[in-house]
Symmetry: C2
Subunit: 231 residues, 2 copies
């Protein structure tokens, strides 16, 4: 019943998840892309996700509406909280930033697992990264390992002995520059991606939020020019 | 920042989650009830949940719309699959039934954790039960224990040392009769609850699905009359 050639890929539209989709689709796997609409300030992210899903020849791209934003608590979903700008690397590394959406990756992975079970897929890909992770607790390897154990206990497919779910996080130990070089090696087009937490009305990136700064530093260290436009 | 007197209670409107809400609210905790609308065939469940939230003096009751039903794969959300009727206890105990919604409790607990983090709560209550569990893998104690570990790795509150999340499953080792007797002891009103997988157009329970049969057996063994009406 379960087909080992299918994989669910979590796709935000950013540089990391785009590279992850490229990695997943470069092997023998048929990919199913999953994105979430959760009261983000920007929908330009979801447009980027759709372009990447096409580019990586995803068999299907599902955009799931979730109410996570309504629970409040993050600058990314609550317009009364400002997105932090021009933080130093020291500031980024210290503590959890206000752009944290409560346990976002846990919710996303749970949906991915539900879809994987219905599809008969055992592989799930997520573009989390523990080096350039900007202080989010649910990007750490110990979280991903623990989720994989929980997933295999939660699921009927696994309970019936059909196989084991694997949570693939191929970027976990890579620097941003290494991620970009790997994506380029596999032929990925970074002009499709969007990283900014606070784009202007035309969708142009600010160049100043944590996400833009990490991205620009990555391209600089990779010796490449970032193909997207900034304000 | 986190307040140990708040608790998030997952409330489906059934006998088990109703008893769980009664248990949670009988102590020192202020309860926040959370229910899900996920393409169930019946909304009578959600009406029951609202009545129970009122009865248990929940500070707030959130009903979250989720797209889980759209992923397909269950008789509870897909009208092309029949709800199984009149199964023997042997049939119920063997394997995963078609009423299984893919990794439902994992998705529900993930949302509960997101809300708990925003509220500053560290206690989450869920009415899962490993004895009368009707074959669902995500009702087993090893799943709940594994989720609790994952939750504490996923969350900013826990990462910052604010405390540890606890997943309370007070019914885990109880028979249905013991659950009912405990609820009655605490003054719970079972006429508010709804258990049937396949009610008629008036919301009356069928008395024949797995859930009705387990409920009726529980009342019988507790020596009590079930206060709800059947078709």
């Amino acid at each position: 019943m379960h087909d080992k050639n299918k994989a669910v890929v979590l796709l935000s539209g950013g540089l990391d998840s785009g590279t992850t989709a490229q990695i997943a689709s470069s092997g023998e796997l048929e990919i199913y892309a999953m994105s979430f609409s959760y009261g983000q300030r920007h929908t330009v992210e979801l447009e980027a996700a759709s372009k990447i899903a096409d580019f990586c020849k995803a068999r299907e791209h599902r955009i799931i509406d979730i109410d996570l934003g309504r629970l409040g608590g993050s600058a990314l979903t609550d317009s009364s909280i400002d997105v932090p700008k021009d933080r130093s690397e020291g500031e980024m590394a210290s503590g959890v930033p206000s752009t944290y959406v409560p346990v976002r990756n846990l919710v996303f992975l749970s949906y991915a697992l539900a879809w994987a079970e219905v599809l008969g897929a055992f592989d799930i890909f997520i573009g989390v990264n523990s080096l350039d992770y900007s202080g989010y607790p649910d990007c750490r390897p110990e979280f991903i390992e623990s989720f994989e154990k929980t997933a295999n206990l939660a699921s009927a497919a696994s309970a019936e002995g059909g196989g084991r779910f694997k949570i693939n996080a191929p970027l976990m130990q890579k620097t941003k520059a290494e991620i970009i070089l790997e994506g380029k090696r596999l032929g990925f087009d970074y002009s499709l991606t969007h990283s900014c937490y606070d784009p202007d009305e035309n969708g142009l990136a600010c160049g100043k939020c944590d996400s833009c700064k990490l991205r620009l530093k990555g391209f600089r260290e990779a010796g490449l020019k970032d193909p997207i436009k900034y304000q």
